[in-house]
Amino acid sequence: MINKILSILYKDFKIEMSQSHLFFSVALYVVSSIYIVYISFQPVGILNSEHWVSIFWIIILFSSISSVSKSFFQESSNRNYYYYYVLSPDELIFSKLIYNFIFILFVSFLTFAVFTFFLGNYIISLPFFFSLLFIGALSISNCLTLIAAVAHQVKNNSSLISILSFPVIIPIFLLLIKLSKVSSTEFSWILVQDDIYLLILLNIILVSLTKFLFGFLWRN
């Protein structure tokens, strides 16, 4: 199973490398949306950490939705038939989960770099914030992968994935924003432990649902 997952991942990244415009389009999306934020906050810039954190995560949300939606759509229907015979649904969905996780992690670190370059840095406890980016990428990919699979089944689905994913992702998002606000002050474990546990709980629910429900979707 692990071998198959790794080989699909290898194939996905190879496609990503050969069609590098896909990655660059997401990168350009991130940079231009941050630049819009930068221009619209002129001449004073963002003045407090709460605005900084909220806008930061909103940009990550939008760019990750646009990047996840293509991870399913880049597959041609012929290849899907091929997968149907060689793979079990679990192998396919776990490879997609890992692929999306790595991609979103990359996007969020890129966002952080560009964001601090243009809008300054309000984060004081950086190690905590980086681990938060890590957990955030994990949760967003867990949440969006199943929804992308659902939206993939529907024709004319370009706007559907955002309609379906926004309300579902809001609880995760609220937790991430709340936790990030802590990282703009001195970090202490007591302030964040409840929210971290809840985030882990949500991730467990989402992963088990994804594994359980994708089998039914895949049988179409």
Binding site: Q153, V154, L160, F166, P167, P171, L174, D195, L213, N220
Partner: protein
């Protein structure tokens, strides 16, 4: 079935009359508006119960492929959302008289609003697919996802922060002040009555939907 319906009518008549006439504890700020407890809270319980039935039927559909379960699941979620809207409206009117505003940034309000948004996008998803069995399969998957995200939204997230609701964050709640259970003797029958009403409405509408499908 007839006994259940009679019970439902009797319980709701009891709720409506006793809820307005019986003595209630005098609490600051709440005053007489405490009576909304008999209507607002049971409506939310009914919504959760109906949405639970909806997700159970969604699961039965994807495991058996029987389209009647899909119709049931759609119907229960529809009535559940209707009760959710009623819950929000009754809460908003109550909030105007106690908090002074129709809508505030309260975790319970946010949770229920987001929960309803999830179900609205479920309806959008259903309407965007033509093929019946495909529609059932995809929307059932989303229905189960929606219900399992609703539980943390409504039950877990609001408990982590202070809410303006009575009983949260130091606000007086009925289980703290209500020593001789004045409220309970109306509240528990009201919950049962409203749940029965919800199931009854869903049953009637299911019959209408089935007849429409036949025609």
């Amino acid at each position: 079935m007839k006994i259940v319906k009679t019970l439902c009518v009797l319980l709701l008549l009891y709720t409506a009359s006793a809820g307005v006439l019986f003595d209630v504890p005098r609490l600051p700020i709440l005053n007489e508006t405490i009576r909304v407890l008999y209507f607002h809270v049971p409506i939310w319980f009914t919504m959760i119960f109906l949405l639970f039935l909806s997700s159970i039927n969604a699961y039965r559909f994807i495991s058996t492929g029987d389209l009647s379960y899909d119709l049931k699941s759609y119907n229960y979620s529809n009535i559940g959302v209707f009760f959710g809207v009623l819950g929000i409206i009754s809460g908003m009117i109550w909030a105007k008289y106690t908090w002074g505003t129709y809508w505030t940034n309260d975790p319970k309000l946010n949770g229920s609003a987001i929960g309803l948004l999830i179900y609205f996008s479920y309806f959008v998803l259903r309407n965007s697919i033509e093929d019946e069995s495909k529609k059932g399969k995809i929307s059932s998957v989303y229905n189960i996802l929606a219900f399992s995200m609703l539980i943390p939204l409504i039950f877990i997230l609001p408990r982590l922060t202070d809410s303006l609701h009575p009983g949260n964050g130091g606000n007086p709640g009925f289980n703290v002040y209500d020593l001789n259970s004045q409220l309970r003797i109306v509240f528990y029958p009201a919950v049962i009555g409203f749940i029965l009403l919800g199931v009854w409405i869903a049953d009637l509408r299911l019959r209408v939907l089935k007849l429409k499908n036949k025609l």
